[in-house]
Each structure stands twice: as C-alpha cells, then as structure tokens.
Amino acid sequence: MSILVDERTRILVQGITGSVGRVDTRLCLDYGSRIVAGVTPGRGGESVSGVPVFDTVAEAVERTGATAAVQYVPARHAADAVVEAAASGLSPIVAIAENLPRQDAWRAAVAARNAGSVLIGFNTNGIISPGRTKLGGIGGPRPDDLFRPGTVGVCSRSGGMSAEIARSLARAGSGVSTCVSMGGESITGRTMAEYARWFEADEATRSIVVFGEPGSEHEAQLAAAMERGEVTKPVVAMVVGQFQDAYPAGSSFGHLSAMVRLETDRAVVKRDMLAAAGALIAERVEDIPDLIEGC
C-alpha cells in the first residue's frame, strides 16, 4: 500500500517536450511508472519515449484515461497548468516549478483544492511509492539505491533531504511506503498535517518521518493534529534552520520560504511543539532509523 500514487496511477506529463521533461519521463518509464500521455500546446501528434503528446490536458485525458499529472512548466505558466489539470479531474498534480509569484501559487492551490485535487509542490522533486511508481525527478537515475519498499511514510519540505532520509533508512534495512516532497515554496498545495493524516489511514505505513524548515505553519498544524489524536502512528521529526536565530528576523537562507518573521516560524519552537505533541526529534539524518526502530 501507499498514499496518493501506486502502480495503477496513469500519469500525464505537462511540458513533456522540454529538456527536463524528456529526461524525467525516460527515467520514470524505466522505473515502471505508467506514463500514458504528454501535453505541450502546439506539439500534439509528436511522441516522447513512445508516449503520445497532445495539445491539451482535456484531450489527453479523454484519449488515455490519465488520472494524475506531473508538470515541467516554467514558473510564469505553472499556475495555469495546475488549473488546467485540476479542471480535468487529475490528482495528484505534481508541480516542479519554483519561484512563482505568490498570487499565482495561491490561485493554483485554491483551484486544485476546490476541484478535490491534491497539488504536490510548488518546488518539489516529486513523489515515489518504491517498487510501484514515481512521479518527478525524485530518486534520480538510480531510485533503487535510495528508496526501498517498506513501512515508513516520509513527508519532506526539501526534495534533496527526502533522498538523504530514504537512503539512511535503506542502509538500516528499512524502507519507505511513500515518500512525498511536499514542496519548498511558502505556498504549497497541501499541508504537512494532511499528508500525515493520509499516512495515518494507510495500512502499510507504520511510522511517519517529517522534515521541516523555518517559516510556515506546517509543523504547528501537524503538532495540533497529533494533539487531537488525528495522527496516532509514531512521528519522527527533523526541523533544521536553528542557526537562523543568531541572525536578524526577516533574513532568508536557503529556500526563500524558510524565512523567520514570527516567533512560531523558528525551528526550535517548531521542534518543541512537535516534541510536546509526542514526536521524536532527530538531530541528524543518521538518528532517524534508530528512532523509528525504538518506536
């Protein structure tokens, strides 16, 4: 089992004819992902790695029965691409683009939510259910080296850290049910707490690992969900960026969204909230397998 995606997921790639879209499509097909359609306006009739390309999402869905989307679309067109995919009922929608105008990201997030679609991103490298499917660049050219099938659900603000966490689990002989890079932008389609609730409902997931950063309310919302008893499976949390406390508020390091403006944006505060709600706190990636083992 897994959350949101599995081997039956029929994937449509928006922006399939671009350079990253082509490479990722090839790697996903090699992994076994069922990519059934591509979309690039004006390029209908072509094909990429044997996948037929259509001019519009609606046409591609009608012809191929696609159920989910992954998007390699430049930031200024990314919101429209999400709206188009949501209007055709696709879910999840994996949106790779970063540095979107705030207003556009919000418009897309609202449109997807209203349509009942799960928007993963913005600024994500994708989602993987090891051994079943993957959408996006997650795992790179050799996903099996990093992501082994298992019982740990991973939700990370950082795509790169998804890979580090998965690899440390693999080395300890453990594995992942689904790993989702939820997006590093300030506006994401869904909250960390929602992903945790989906892992809670997934029979194959026994424990949950989350990776957070300064800024945003994600960790506070997750702590609240745990307090309310909506998430009862063991949660191991890593929240980085504590060093930012030594610098003036409003400084941004790394992800632009990882900016401290409010007291509750601070890494330490988030860690304390999650610990108080019962989460185990990892200082280092290498601590995560042991903490899970001890749950």
Binding site: S186, E217, V240
Partner: protein, 380 residues
C-alpha cells in the same frame, strides 16, 4: 519600495496620502516645503523600517526649517543605509491613529487591522484583528466593514475607511507581498490618510511590472553580484548570504544547507556565508556563486556538500570549483576543502579532484553529517 514610491502607488489606487515631494539637496527640500501648507516632515528615503526611532525623520517643523533638516539627513547613515534623498511631506493633523496591513501567510492572503496605530503595533498582539481572505483575490466592501467593526469595537464604520481599505486591497492584489498603512490617520473632518505606508513587491512577479526595477537594497557587494546574476542568467536559482565567519559554504539544496549550517554552528564553527543552489544550475551561475564564496577575505576553509544530486551533475560542480580555486591562487598555500558530492557523474568528479592538495573528497556513502564532522576536525 521606498516611501514615496509606495505612496504614489497607493495614491494612484485612490488611497489618500499626504502631499509631498522628493529632494536630493537642501535647496530642493526648502522649495518643496514652501509649496506645502502648514508644518512639514522631512524623512530619509532609505529602505528600512522604524526610521522615526532611528533619527531618520525630522518633524513636524516649520516650512522654513526644512532645508536645514534635509542638510542634516542627506549623507548621514540611517539603519545602515546612506541617505541620498529625502521626502518632504505635509504634516497631517491627526485626531486618531489606526493600523491596516495586507500580507501573505501559509493560509493565503490576510488583512490585519487595529483601532490603534503606532511604531510597535505589529508586535502588540491583542490589539490586532485578522481576517483571512481565503480563495478570493479581492476584499469586498462587506469584508472591510466587518473587519473594522471588530477592530474598532463599533458597529458604525465610516464609509471613507471602508473605501480606503478596499482600494489598498487592490494595490496588494497587484503582486505585493506586503502593504502596510501605519499610522492610518483619522482627521477631525472625518477623512482618513495613509500617513505611513510601506509596500513590498513580489520579486517573482516583476515580469508583470515593467515599470518597476529590481533593486539590490541592503545587499553587500558580493551578494548583489550573485543576486543580479541569478536574475539575469538562465538555469536554476543560486543564492548567497554573506556572514562574518571564516568557513565558506558551497552547499545545497535548501534543506541540506540549513541542516549543515546548524551542525557547524553547534560545533562552534562560524560560516563566512550561506549559499543555495537549485537543481539544474548553469555553469555561468555556478561560477558567479563560487567566485563570491571564495572571495570572502576571512576564508580559511571550505565545505562543498550537496544533497545526493538527482539532476545536477557532480562533475560540473567540481570542474567550476577547481577553476575558482585556481583563480584564487595560493595566498598561504591552498585552503582545506572538504567535499561531499554524490550522484550523477560522481566518478568523473572524483577523478578531476584526485591529487589536489588540501582537497578531501569523502568516500561514497558518506553522509552530510560526516562531511560537517570532517570539516570541524580540520578546523581544530
């Protein structure tokens, strides 16, 4: 945006602001003041908040004193910024101060209001009333009225205040990240004026605003060079923040950079910078970032450590790093460099680095934490 730019933008949208003019000399300030009625304020145009508490605002003063006030401000340093121009503005007779702000949170757009204004109102918690605007990209009259009814604790909200708030919402929903009116002054005649106004525009949306120019306000020279290159050159984004330690960080992605910076600070190491680099970065951008990191005068060691690279090739980073190190030359022998680069083309990156004095490339399978530990050992 500087104050006069913020106010001009608000005025165009129908928000009443005090009359004023920009001056770059005391003489200009004097004639600007004579064109106004009554007393005036002379304000330093620097990109910083809390100017009035940091000698950046003089007034209210008589019109004849404006030139002298401008003389005092021009050329001085206020909150770290050299004052090159001043804003001469009429002093509005204030019967009461209010506060209104539009901002983005993780729940979307939000408007905040208070029946009390003033410099520290944002941090005074209790007095603030919030309204999340949800999925709509505007603030209807009814919403503004509801907000002020709660903020003022009075069911009768002046229509002029509602109109002003709706107009300010229009400015916010035109790609601003923040619109703050503080103080929002109520006059004895019942009118409302944005006496203090601050707009922060969304740098990611400047393509929709050809009239606005991106300005590297408050950045160091090297930070400005990297930020400018990031905007100008193609490829994934690069970021560079200068600090005053002695350990250079060429790190990424965003999460891995924050994580390693934490571990270094915990071990007592002081970074000379923070950096970040997106997947799919171009060689040109990489060169600019590396030059900035290596250019720091305190630099005595360097950590090059990235997430397992899933798209950007390791050999590209190594190639550009070696070029940068060569260009830097030997001041007192090569600086120690700890490298953790894994993923695409790591084998070639290793071959390129082989035999390089001072460079320690960690074996395959080494973690981000081990890279930091190695650097900490070297620095002791």
């Amino acid at each position: 945006m500087l104050e006069h730019e913020s106010k001009a933008r608000l005025a165009r949208a129908g928000v009443r602001v005090p009359r004023g003019a920009v001056a770059t000399t005391p003489e200009q300030a004097g004639s600007a003041a004579r064109a106004l009625d009554g007393e005036v304020f002379v304000k330093a145009l620097v990109p910083a908040n809390r100017r009035s508490k940091n000698n950046g605002v003089i007034g209210p003063i008589g019109r004849d004193a404006a030139a002298r006030a401008a003389h005092e401000l021009l050329g001085s340093r206020i909150l770290g910024h050299r004052c090159r121009s001043v804003y001469v503005e009429e002093a509005v007779a204030v019967a009461g101060e209010l506060y209104a702000a539009f901002s983005w949170g993780s729940r979307g757009p939000r408007v905040t209001a208070s029946g009390a204004g003033g410099v520290d109102i944002e941090s005074s918690g209790d007095a603030l009333v919030h309204l999340d605007l949800g999925g709509s990209a505007d603030l209807p009259q009814g919403g503004a009225e509801h907000l002020w009814r709660r903020a003022l604790g009075d069911s009768r909200v002046p229509p002029a205040l509602v109109d002003l708030t709706v107009s300010a919402a229009g400015v916010f929903f035109d790609d601003a990240l923040l619109v703050e009116l503080n103080p929002l002054a109520r006059s004895a005649d019942g009118s409302f004026t944005a006496v203090g106004a601050l707009i922060e525009m969304d740098g990611n949306a400047l393509f929709r605003h050809p009239d606005l120019r991106w300005r590297p306000d408050g950045l160091s020279e090297r930070e400005a060079v990297v930020a400018e290159a990031d905007r100008r050159l193609p490829g994934a984004s690069v970021r560079y923040v200068e600090l005053d330690g002695d350990t250079g960080l060429l790190v990424g992605g965003g999460g891995a950079g924050l994580y390693q910076h934490d571990l270094l600070v915990q071990a007592g190491v002081r970074p000379a910078n923070h950096s970040d680099l997106g997947a799919g970065v171009s060689a040109e951008k990489l060169d600019v970032l590396i030059e900035a990191v290596l250019g720091h005068s305190n630099l005595s060691r360097l950590l090059v450590s990235f997430n397992i690279l899933q798209l950007a090739p390791c050999d590209l980073i190594m190639e550009r790093l070696l070029v940068g190190l060569d260009r830097m030359g030997d001041r007192d022998g090569p600086i120690p460099v700890v490298v953790r680069l894994e993923g695409l083309n790591a084998d070639r990156a290793r071959r390129l680095a082989a035999g390089r004095a001072g460079l320690r490339y960690l074996p395959p399978g080494a973690s981000l934490g081990e890279a930091v530990d190695t650097l900490v050992r070297i620095s002791r």
